[in-house]
């Protein structure tokens, strides 16, 4: 089921009644999630991801804008009539019911035409349980299950009615690192098997990159960029998106374009074609540095961290926006440093320019 949001806006009255201004949690969001895909809403805390999700599932009514599932306008439908399944951040499993009772609960609410017999309900519940592999845990109450198991029960409960759209609000945030990885794969498998269009909310960019068909990067309620994870990583539209994706994060420098030459601090690092003079932010991905004795970027060496495959060079540069910059080089390349100085050549496609004021991407061509 294709999901389309059109100019979706949600404003909350300010909780501090003295301040009359409203909080805009979701700001004119327009996007389309193709049928059967897994889309991730990604953004820092408080950027309106949960609110967007709540709008899609109907727990909140939008201030403006429309929501379509396929060709149906569901904006004014109650949650139960939209055919959505929602997995909450804390799972919200009913603690006094067993896993099976929890999974059965949505089915028992069905009325009229859709009403099921007891056998049909159990059959459907078992199907869902099988999908998330918790058949042997069905008699346990949530308190007797691990976080990962509870999460599966929550997914089973959301899936049992075979929703048109599955929504997950930071479902992995309560799990430890290893379990998170494992459950992530699991989730991906379940989504592929069922083919249900899924919207997944997270603030963890790594999680988002690894799981999604399509990524939506948000900030302060607005969508900054939509696209395939790799595309967004390779072609960020602005500094925020560039900074938000990637570990270690992108290195940002103050830079200038003067007479077709890009300088970072005192280093002239690149010659550009057809670029008028301007002040810029220069973003360089950690993997964009090549140690080179004759390279243009001269940095002070702080240290070298060897972690398995990769070697991270920690260095300083006067124009660097942060204290240190981090460059990842393959372990077999020496850094050829002497007396605390290290010099880098830069990979053209790992270097981005952003306008100093608007922080938007500035296209350029290297000569």
């Amino acid at each position: 089921m294709k999901v389309r949001l059109e100019h979706l806006t949600k404003r909350f009255p300010n909780s501090n009644r003295k301040i009359k201004t409203e909080v805009t949690a979701v700001d004119d969001v327009t996007l389309e999630i193709p049928d059967g895909q897994l889309a991730v809403l990604l953004g820092p805390s408080g950027c309106g991801k949960s609110t967007a999700l709540n709008l899609i599932c109907g727990l909140e009514k939008p201030t403006e804008g429309r929501i379509y599932f396929g060709d149906d306008d569901v904006t004014d439908l109650a949650p139960e009539n939209r055919g959505v399944g929602l997995v909450f951040q804390n799972y919200a499993l009913y603690p006094h019911m067993t896993a099976l009772q929890n999974i059965l609960f949505p089915l028992q609410n069905l009325k009229g035409e859709a009403k099921l017999s007891r056998e049909q309900m159990t059959e459907k519940a078992m199907e869902a349980a099988k999908l998330v592999q918790i058949e042997e845990l069905l008699d346990r109450k949530p308190g007797q299950m691990s976080g990962g198991q509870q999460q599966r029960v929550a997914i089973a409960r959301a899936l049992v009615k075979m929703p048109r759209v599955l929504l997950l609000d930071e479902p992995l945030s309560n799990l430890d690192a290893r379990l998170r990885l494992q459950t992530r794969e699991e989730l991906r498998r379940i989504q592929r098997e069922t083919g249900i269009t899924t919207v997944f909310v997270t603030h963890d960019q790594e999680e988002a990159m690894s799981i999604s068909d399509m990524m939506v990067v948000m900030r302060k309620g607005a969508v900054h960029q939509t696209g395939k994870p790799q595309e967004i990583y390779d072609e960020p539209v602005d500094l925020f998106v560039a900074k938000f994706l990637g570990t270690p994060p992108i290195n940002v420098f103050e830079g200038k374009v003067r007479g077709g030459v890009l300088t970072v601090g005192a280093d002239a690092v690149m010659e550009l074609e057809d670029t008028p003079d301007r002040d810029v932010w220069v973003g360089i991905r950690p993997e964009g540095f090549i140690p080179d004795v004759g390279g243009p970027l001269r940095c002070g060496l702080v240290g070298v961290e060897v972690m398995g495959r990769d070697t991270t060079v920690v260095a300083t540069h006067p124009a660097c926006a942060a204290d240190n910059l981090r460059a990842i080089i393959s372990a077999d390349t020496g850094i050829g440093s002497s007396a605390g100085e290290v010099r880098f050549a830069l990979k053209r496609e790992k270097l981005f320019l952003f306008d100093k004021e608007t922080e938007e991407r500035v296209p350029f061509r290297a000569r």
């Binding site: 949650p79 139960e80 929602l86 909450f88 919200a92 009913y94 949505p106 609410n109």
Partner: protein, 301 residues
């Protein structure tokens, strides 16, 4: 290990000492008195030892009346007050505007003095030379006969007694239940909403089970409190409860000790122990039901 055990006992000592002197010792004493025939605290003399006191008390029509009154009060007021309090709390937690005001209004009787409330009830219900009381005026309006609630027939007195008791115990229950309701995580309701759960089902399958520990707490303490009823009766009917036919077990014990017919600590002790065993039995039954029953379904009743 040994050392820390010793320390623990040492820290507990003051509490144990006080509890021992003021709780355990009197309890044992009462137990002993209850088996001593004609114990006289002034001369410290006894005629004999045996079941005589119990037999006397159990054959005393005043005591039987008191037991009957107490049971009626318990059986009517505990379920009714808990149920009503639940209704009101659910109502309170679903209104938005003026919520605090309503909550305060419902809580006021709790901080009001029993005797002051008693006075208000007098005005509402008592027949005097000048007026029949507000409620009777109302009854008259609708063409009914005046009823004397304070000095009249037994059912009228019992009605006003239960009414009063419920009135007095409700605020506390409402307070507890509204906070219990407020503490239920909202996401459960959101989850239920997504599944299109009807309101009644949300209430019985989610809300009730979630607040059931508090309901059980209220039922158990409600039972215990109602069995120990006494001051409310005095507030309404004065100290001569036997004459009014509205005595309770605790009232009977008090009368046996200090009342006009007082000076019989043995009878009082026997009556007190009978009350104790009744309360103990009922509390145990209550706890058993709580443990056994699926939490939440025994609910308000």
């Amino acid at each position: 290990m040994k050392q820390s055990d010793l320390k623990a006992w040492l820290y507990l000592l003051p509490a144990i000492l006080f509890l021992g002197i003021f709780m355990v010792y009197p309890l044992i004493d009462v137990f002993i008195y209850s088996f001593e025939e004609g114990y006289n605290s002034a001369s410290q003399t006894v005629y004999g030892v045996g079941w005589y006191n119990y037999s006397y008390v159990l054959h005393d029509p005043y005591f039987l009346q008191a037991v009957k009154n107490t049971f009626i009060i318990v059986l009517i007021t505990v379920p009714l007050s808990t149920g009503l309090a639940l209704l009101i709390s659910v109502g309170l937690s679903s209104v938005k505007p003026l919520k605090d005001l309503y909550q305060t209004v419902f809580f006021l009787p709790y901080v009001t003095n029993t005797l002051a409330v008693g006075l208000v009830f007098m005005i509402l219900f008592k027949k005097t030379a000048y007026t029949d009381g507000m409620v009777n005026l109302l009854i008259n309006q609708f063409g009914g006969e005046s009823v004397d609630f304070i000095d009249g027939p037994y059912w009228a007195k019992m009605f006003i007694m239960c009414f009063y008791t419920i009135w007095v115990v409700m605020p506390f229950k409402i307070l507890i239940l509204t906070s219990a309701l407020a503490s239920v995580d909202k996401t459960y309701y959101n989850a239920a909403k997504i599944d299109g759960t009807p309101r009644w089902r949300v209430f019985t399958r989610i809300t009730l089970p979630m607040i059931s520990p508090m309901i059980f707490y209220l039922v158990i303490t409600g039972f215990i409190g109602a069995f120990k009823a006494y001051s409310d009766e005095v507030a309404l009917f004065g100290t001569n409860l036997n004459a009014a036919g509205m005595n309770t077990i605790v009232g009977y014990v008090y009368d046996m000790l200090y009342g006009d017919s007082g000076g019989y600590p043995s009878y009082a002790s026997a009556a007190a122990l009978i009350l104790f065993s009744i309360v103990l039995t009922i509390t145990c039954v209550n706890l058993l039901v709580t443990r056994r029953g699926r939490p939440g379904y025994a609910g308000a009743r």
